[in-house]
């Protein structure tokens, strides 16, 4: 599995880049481990996991077999994904104004890795429980008390958010990329931006639509930061808002 931060110029963003590399690698490693394990488990009819080193995953399957719901272990995995996500989130904030385009791309990839992980957990939960509920809901129902959901663990449905009540985003390449961009935004803002982006992309010629969607993805974390500042009610307009500074003379 490729390190999502392998091409990052660490000299540009220094400590932040190094920490991002760790966070991204952690997410990617977890994703890789779970992906292999669940693929094999599915291929073998979920009866066994012949990967002895993946004790954590084995416990999930065992729990699923015996109890029906992978309560504690799924909760641990969700917590781990949440920890990674929190780290990425914090680094995005810390990187703030000085981050280069390469750094922002790295952050985007880190967030994407975490979202991959969230998707995988969803898939795992769906496989492990015939009802197909998400892992988070399974945890909640099984344990009988509220479990804090990691902020970045995004359910599959969030990647293609509803636009209005009955207008799903179109399943096209731009639509899916925009769904990813919207999935990076705070939950409360997703419906608005899903509709806004969708309204704009429809006005572009087809060959410009993918470029538009990709640029939205690259800007999504900057937008997320702006929206989070909005909810905190801070930040002057002179502050950085796109990651680009006015170049010196």
């Amino acid at each position: 599995m490729t390190d999502p931060f392998g091409d990052l110029d660490r000299s540009v963003t220094g400590r932040v880049a190094a920490e991002l590399a760790v966070a991204g690698a952690d997410a990617r490693r977890t994703y890789s481990m779970l992906s292999s394990a669940f693929t094999e488990a599915a291929a073998k009819g979920r009866t066994a996991l012949p990967i002895p080193q993946l004790a954590q995953v084995r416990r999930i399957v065992a729990a699923a077999q015996h109890a029906g719901l992978p309560s504690r272990d799924v909760r641990e995995l969700l917590a781990r994904a949440g920890t990674v996500a929190e780290r990425v989130d914090r680094l995005v904030d810390e990187a703030g104004n000085g981050v280069s385009d390469g750094g922002r791309l790295a952050m985007f990839r880190a967030a994407q890795a975490v979202m991959d992980l969230g998707l995988l957990l969803d898939q795992a939960a769906a496989r492990l429980q015939p009802g197909g509920v998400t892992a988070g809901r399974a945890v909640k129902r099984r344990s009988g008390h509220q479990v804090e959901q990691p902020r970045y663990v995004v359910a599959a449905a969030d990647l293609v958010p509803p636009v209005g009540a009955q207008q799903p985003i179109e399943v096209t390449a731009p639509g899916l990329i925009l769904g990813l961009a919207v999935g990076l935004l705070p939950r409360a803002h997703r419906p608005r931006y899903a509709e806004e982006f969708r309204g704009e992309v429809r006005d572009l010629p087809p060959r410009q639509q993918v470029g538009y969607a990709l640029r939205q993805c690259l800007q999504a974390l900057a937008l997320r930061r702006g929206l989070r500042r909005t909810s905190r009610g801070r930040g002057p307009v002179d502050a950085e808002d796109t990651g680009r500074r006015t170049p010196p003379r």
Binding site: V163, G164, Q167, R192, Y193, E195, E196, R198, G199, E200, R202, D203, L204, Q208, G211, Y212, A213, L214, R215, Q216, Q219, A222, L223, R225, G226, L227, R229, T230, G235, P236, V237, D238, A239, E240, D241, T242, R244, R245, T246, P247, P248, R249
Partner: protein, 106 residues
């Protein structure tokens, strides 16, 4: 204030009372489509811009609604002041026509 923010403000100040949606603003500001929503969110946050949905029925029109942005009551004046300050203090990219000798170019 960043150069893209200044470009967005200058574009909108061309017709301060007009509401524009994202693609129009990008085009008017000379920025790539899909790059301005962080800027618009910040300007909306500080109260310089207001946004609202286009008043159409998406089903009837066969397309999604657009989100239109316009200056708030004081927003245009605040934006002009900020641009003037940025212009006086700027040390970077040229945003307007450059005076060369006695003529005006580019």
């Amino acid at each position: 204030m960043t150069t893209p923010t200044q470009l967005v403000l200058r574009a909108m100040l061309e017709q301060p009372s007009r509401a524009m949606y994202g693609l129009e603003i990008c085009s008017a500001a000379g920025l790539a489509s899909g790059t301005i929503h962080p800027i618009l969110a910040r300007l909306e946050q500080v109260g310089w811009l207001e946004s609202s949905w286009e008043a159409i029925d998406p089903r009837q029109e066969g397309r999604p609604r657009r989100r239109y942005y316009r200056f708030s009551r004081d927003g245009a004046e605040l934006a002009r002041d900020a641009l003037a300050r940025a212009y006086r203090g700027r040390s970077g990219v040229r945003l307007g026509p450059r005076i060369v000798g006695e003529g005006v170019t580019s």
